[in-house]
């Protein structure tokens, strides 16, 4: 079984967000990491590999600048077997549609039984790429799984929605996305760190994937960011002094803002 995990190199979500001069998220001068929610995708893939009846391989796929290699390295340290890194200057500024175009082409090239994604990236947060991948690849999609069971080529997931919990099943090959409730990602181990150095990472360009540079990047994006303004710092707020009318003042405050 071949499991390919699509991961994103995202700015550390605990650090201040910066933007480049072209209004794209700065991915070069800030500390980037493996998008935290993708750790759940890697963990699920590793668990599936560990419980697989026959040989299974976990390949991690990412697209992004040179620095994105650190995201692949982290997954290799966690236990993934190999990496594929699509690096091409033309990719810069790609939207979800273009990203799915590149990732789908890479998935077709590597081949897969199971393509696993996280529930969202910690920067864009759109959650649409898994569905787009399934559409482009013509395979079923099992998205937002909070529990995954694999039996041969059949995959069953539990999908916890706001009004119902669904059980959905599909047969490989398919695209799977998992939520942060699906598992507890493991830490790398020191042995994993040492082993990661010897694992292969293939670098590919758009040309290798047969993707035309005109299909991706800022110019091809369906939307354009017109401007960015930083949110003003939080103001001090209102202090209500309870002189016997405290509750009334609180209700008035909330009512004024249409909270009650």
């Amino acid at each position: 079984m071949k499991i390919v995990v699509c991961v994103k190199f995202a700015p550390d979500s605990t650090a201040p967000r910066k933007f480049s001069s072209d209004d794209t998220v700065d991915r070069v001068s800030v500390d980037g990491i493996l998008s935290e929610l993708d750790e759940n995708a890697v963990e699920e893939a590793l668990k599936i590999r560990e419980s697989a009846a026959s040989d299974a391989e976990v390949v991690v796929l990412t697209m992004g600048p040179e620095q994105a290699r650190t995201a692949i390295t982290k997954t290799l340290q966690m236990g993934a077997d190999a990496g594929v890194h699509v690096v091409d200057d033309a990719i810069h500024g790609s939207d979800s549609i273009a990203s799915s175009r590149v990732l789908a082409a890479a998935l077709e090239r590597t081949g897969f039984d199971l393509a696993v994604c996280g529930m969202a990236s910690t920067d864009g947060g759109m959650s649409v790429v898994p569905a787009m991948l399934a559409e482009r690849l013509g395979v079923p999609q099992l998205t937002m799984a909070s529990e995954v069971k694999v039996d041969g080529t059949a995959v069953t997931i539990r999908r916890d929605g706001e009004v119902a919990t669904e059980t959905v099943e599909a047969t490989m090959p398919l695209v799977l996305s998992v939520t942060d409730a699906a598992n507890e990602p493991r830490y790398p181990s020191f042995k994993g760190i040492m082993a990661a150095k010897k694992k292969p990472v293939e670098e590919l360009t758009l040309g290798d994937l047969g993707v035309d540079a005109g299909e991706v990047g800022s110019a091809a994006a369906w939307t354009t960011v017109e401007s960015i303004e930083e949110r003003p710092a939080r103001t001090a707020g209102t202090i209500v002094t309870d002189d016997g009318t405290g509750a009334d003042q609180l209700v008035a405050f909330l009512a004024e803002r249409k909270f009650v």
Binding site: T73, Q77, Y187, P188, S189, F190, K191, I193, M194
Partner: protein, 391 residues
Amino acid sequence: MAVDRLLPTTEAYDLLDLVREIAAEQLAPRAAVDEASATFPRDVFRLLGEAGLLSLPFDEEDGGGGQPYEVYLQMLEEIATAWVSVGVDVSVHSLASLAMSVHGTDEQRMRWLPSMLGGDQLGAYALSEPQAGSDVAAIATRAVRDGDEYVVTGTKAWVSHGPHADFMLLFARTGDDPRGGLSAFHIPIGAGGLEPGAGSLSFGAPERKMGMTASTTSLVMFDDARIPADHRLGDEGDGMRIALSALDSGRLGIAACATGLAQAALDQAVGYASQRRQFGRPIAEFEGLQFMLADMAAAVETARSQYVYAGRLRDAGRPFSRQASIAKLTASDAAMRVTTDAVQVLGGYGYTRDFPAERYMREAKVTQIFEGTNQIQRLVIARDLLRQSGL
């Protein structure tokens, strides 16, 4: 604030990332709670073991990480910055494993080291006794040969995480000569070893300590405990030599932990001084306070330089006993001074249990006492100086 470290390899930097991630997510958030309730975090050591952090300085063929002391000690410092009790217990585990690694026969090493270093086991170190602290030669616990076994009777004191240990390095008397009569033993505990509570091995109540309360310290009592003779490390009478050689390395571990603790106190003091406003501005803008912070930083970095230097000497196979004692002395005194000053920087808040500064101060005190009091360290340093001058 993350310490800028010089490490010898890229994998050491990857290791540093891993240690910092675990320290931030798994150690720091629990430290205050578990210290307050005196809860030994056994699960934390399983996690550290799984990550390979309990075996860093040991040979790869024995199941260790093959890391130089220079790297191991700096990782230990990072752990101690997040939670010094855990750092000290990791150091004790290393100390308990070291004698097997250095003095075990090939057969003993093959038999025990992989599981000792495998990550799920925790080792304790039983040297001191109620009447034998700095005076190691006063050890009274006896190991009497009886056929293929030794029969051990006596009481060990100040044993870190003894009741939670899976094995123990025990020093006991096999002969009457104060120094030449000591021997070292590997004691597996639990399945296949000595069973606690079976009468031959029992533990005292946890000592009611001033600090590092999450790390259980207790008496360990042996009463006609039967130890197979092939569990002895080295020859009969090698105990003192084994104990002292391990202590040099253990002192470096304590120096690293004390440095980490001092770093934590410094970080807290700098953070607080930048936030706390008096007379219309952050108190960090007052020069009197800046000088305090500068002295604290100087003490922390001096301590770090000293233990890293001593660790490098050890890695190079050079004598490092004097430098280890200087590192332990320097770092523990720095920890005491810096944590005391951190309380001062935080003022009244520093004196409350709502901030960790007072806990750091309580924790720092023992670093001047254990693994050889700082007075003993001065003796070691002076004797080494005088030996070199031919006295």
